[in-house]
Amino acid sequence: MRRHHDMGGQAAGPVDTAERDYAPWGKRVDAIVRLMSDKKRRLIRVDELRRGIEDLGPAAYEEYNYYERWIASTTNILIEKGILGIDELGRRMEDVRARWEASK
């Protein structure tokens, strides 16, 4: 059976070749993941990142944009490895949401 991400050759319509600028948060995600995977830290490898993206499931894979997939995959892998705690992460996410709501 074909897995969802393995879509080479599937009907997909024309490719959007327009240049796009990544949002600052996306660049930050890129930088953080690269720092976590450098020789000094080795917390995550690109192969693990890709495995995590492929395991998101078709709905999330389609719904998330490129760096949202990176965030979801990286988060799951860091939880698996015991580097992030779920309780800690949940509380930080609450704090961020509260700060964002307050700034609106």
Partner: protein, 96 residues
């Protein structure tokens, strides 16, 4: 794999569909192509994807396919080909 791969061999890509991080694209599985170049040995990404060391490293080859073999409705030129990087554990040599 029935015997070591040599350049010029006709190979069939294994028609396997395991879970996990598989680099062999779906559209070449079960298809037949020609080995045209050895790239190098690489740590196995199927293992690296789960935090293991990826050993033993495996040779990666360029395998050339006829486009018309890959796509039943291929409408391009008959001589069109596609080259895909494939790890040795996905190649089966053909009986001669």
């Amino acid at each position: 794999m029935s015997r070591p791969i040599t350049i010029g061999d006709t190979v069939r890509i294994r028609q396997a569909f395991p879970p996990g991080h598989v680099r062999t694209p779906y559209f070449i599985r079960g298809k037949t192509g020609e080995v045209i170049r050895l790239l190098s040995d690489y740590a196995n990404p199927e293992e690296l994807a789960y935090g293991r060391d990826g050993k033993p490293a495996l040779p990666v080859y360029w395998v050339k396919f006829q486009q018309s073999d890959l796509w039943s409705d291929y409408a391009g030129q008959e001589q069109d080909t596609a080259v895909v990087e494939v790890m040795e554990n996905w190649l089966e040599t053909m009986d001669e």
